[in-house]
């Protein structure tokens, strides 16, 4: 049997002839991304030596601009680290900064066919760029930063064959909610996305799906490389790279066909996204206090544009807060230039600076006791966005925008006709 994409990338990075499920492999890491949490006192190991500083990227994102003295202290430690080791790819507050996974895509730091690690769980986001990328822990991101290598347990691979085309008001987030709702977790498995539908799926849409791989609990979520991706990467970097394609006889533990044109908008109920998706008729009418669009999953220019289209000529309901957090300064600037931000603000949205913000419950939209939020972000765990008694529903940016207008969970399609 042949190898799937992730296995081929791991084999090349580990100088191995072959990699298959069950192996424990040690591989070269091409890119290591550090972010502000790594520099907090309880996490920072006071690095003294780095073998490959050119592989390291530092991006401040989780708590930006610093909302507390502790966060500011972490930023200070990060700047000293960058200075000491001459890290060239540093994204300080305001400077081409953003949520690290959005910046990794913006700058094409994740090159097709390579290995990337970061100690944020949504690092699988870079799988949209044909990367083997995953969140690792604090100790192993420093191990990779210092020594340029890491270990992986290789899991079996589930292949998702995407066919057809998404309908109006249906997004990559709904594809994720369909997969998570139908199949549940993918713990210890790799996920591979391919199929004819890729030709109509932008890299931004793929990034939403790859990022949400963390919520499937998969090891890696990797997309096939095609002309859409090659154009995207080459327009952002002159770096050389070699994508990996799956072998025709790759070993998959399952191949699942998803017909995109048969999907409809979905919403996950609070506390989990696994086997917890509902259609809009099942949840419409649930009152909300806050609506949020942002994060490494849904802070792209396309997400902001879609929300603005839904909100065109409409107003956010009086008792609802709509908070929109662009994924990066680059997204923010483009959205400002083309008028998307103005449209959001005119409709009553609060647009924040790029940061992880409300998604992680750290700042910029923390929920109070008993509050209800619908979010287009990464997670709806109990208590994640604020008080443990708050409830978080999850949907696409279109569904969140429509719900903000209605004041209750609502179907976006009537607003997009």
């Amino acid at each position: 049997m042949g190898m799937a994409i992730a296995e081929k990338i791991l084999a090349r990075a580990g100088a191995l002839a072959r990699v298959s499920a069950g192996d424990l492999v040690t591989v070269q890491v091409h890119t290591v991304v550090l972010f502000d949490n790594n520099f907090m006192p309880s996490n920072w190991p006071d690095v003294r030596r780095i073998d490959h500083p050119e592989r390291v990227v530092v991006i401040l994102d989780h708590r930006v601009p610093a909302p507390t003295i502790q966060a500011a202290g972490a930023h200070v430690t990060a700047r000293k680290f960058v200075e000491r080791f001459g890290i060239e790819r540093f994204h300080d507050v305001g400077r081409r900064q953003g949520i690290c996974h959005q910046v990794v895509a913006d700058e094409a730091y994740a090159l097709p066919g390579t290995v990337l690690v970061c100690s944020d769980s949504h690092t699988c986001s870079a799988g949209a760029l044909n990367c083997v990328a995953r969140g690792v822990g604090g100790p192993d991101v420093f191990f990779a930063a210092c020594k340029g290598e890491t270990w992986f347990r290789v899991g079996e691979t589930v292949r998702y064959e995407l066919r057809g085309k998404l309908g109006v008001g249906v997004t990559a987030k709904d594809v994720f909610l369909h997969i998570a709702g139908k199949y549940g977790d993918h713990a210890t498995q790799n996920v591979e996305f391919g199929g004819p539908a890729l030709a109509d799926l932008s890299v931004n849409a793929r990034k939403t799906l790859a990022t949400m791989g963390a919520e499937l609990s998969c090891e890696f979520a990797t997309f096939e490389c095609d002309d859409v991706l090659l154009d995207y990467v080459r327009s952002r970097t002159g770096a050389q790279f070699e994508p990996q394609h799956p072998d025709p006889d790759a070993a998959y533990c399952d191949v699942r066909v998803v017909d995109l044109d048969r999907l409809e908008p979905l919403v996950a109920l609070p506390d989990s996204v696994l086997r917890n998706s509902r259609t809009l008729p099942e949840v419409s009418g649930t009152p909300i206090d806050q609506a949020f669009i942002g994060s490494c999953a849904n802070g792209t220019l396309e997400d902001l544009r879609l929300a603005a289209r839904v909100l065109k000529g409409q107003q956010v309901a009086p008792k609802v807060r709509l908070i929109v957090t662009p994924g990066s300064q680059r997204v923010y600037l483009e959205a400002a230039r083309e008028g998307t931000l103005a449209a959001l603000v005119e409709a009553g949205a609060l647009v924040t600076n790029p940061t992880c913000g409300a998604c992680g419950g750290g700042h910029m939209g923390v929920l109070g006791p008993e509050e209800t939020c619908i979010t287009a972000s990464t997670r709806n765990f109990k208590g994640r966005m604020g008080d443990p008694s708050s409830r978080v529903f999850m949907g696409s940016p279109a569904t969140v925008a429509a719900s903000a207008i209605a004041g209750v969970i609502a179907d976006p399609r009537p607003y997009l006709q």
């Binding site: 424990l24 949490n37 907090m40 309880s42 996490n43 190991p45 006071d46 690095v47 003294r48 030596r49 780095i50 507390t68 502790q70 100690s119 944020d120 769980s121 995953r134 969140g135 690792v136 822990g137 604090g138 100790p139 192993d140 420093f142 191990f143 210092c146 020594k147 270990w151 347990r153 899991g155 977790d185 713990a187 210890t188 963390a214 919520e215 609990s217 998969c218 090891e219 989990s272 696994l274 992680g360 419950g361 750290g362 997670r379 765990f381 109990k382 208590g383 994640r384 443990p388």
Partner: protein, 168 residues
């Protein structure tokens, strides 16, 4: 690595926000340990006695990369045995030196308060009350060596990559 102790049970898809909530981020690692399951089982962290064993369901530790495994270790738990363990959480268990093993059938074979014997060398587990024996998924020897060394930070410290640090 062998352990014999009382077990506590947790369910399926236990997430890292429950083990280490955002509001504990700025605290010391020792203080963070008191917040384990504070949202879903308030007061539990005070009941744990050093050496107790945690038994989990499917996909234990799903969610973020935060050092949640370190909190379980600092709470005094000896090890984790679960139906399956989230890949990222498993890495953190190895790298923070908290022994963790996947063992299909464990959730049904134990009731809270049972006493378990766990051997990581043999990837085996026994329920002392019922006598039921289970075989788990062995942790590769290379990874057991990392756990035995105290995790990755001591290794990096020995090799001069990071400064000497108090155990955290």
């Amino acid at each position: 690595m062998r352990f014999s102790a009382r077990i506590w049970k947790a369910g399926d898809n236990v997430n890292t926000d429950l083990i280490l909530p955002n509001r504990a981020f700025y605290l010391t690692p020792q203080e963070q340990a008191k917040f384990v399951f504070s949202a879903n089982r308030p007061g539990w962290s005070d009941l744990v006695v050093k050496g107790d064993i945690l038994v989990g369901g499917r996909n234990f530790g799903m969610g973020s990369s935060r050092p949640a495994a370190r909190s379980l270790r600092n709470l005094g738990l000896a090890c984790l045995v679960a139906e399956s363990i989230n890949g990222l959480f498993f890495r953190n268990c190895v790298n923070f030196a908290f022994p963790a093993m996947e063992c299909p059938g464990v959730a049904d074979a134990f009731e809270e308060g049972d006493v378990a014997e766990v051997s990581f060398e043999n990837a085996a587990m026994v329920n002392r009350r019922t006598g039921v024996r289970l075989v788990g998924r062995a942790m590769p020897a290379e990874l057991r060596a990392v756990v035995a060394a105290g995790g990755l930070f001591p290794l990096l410290e020995q090799q001069g990559y990071i400064a000497s640090r108090a155990s955290a």
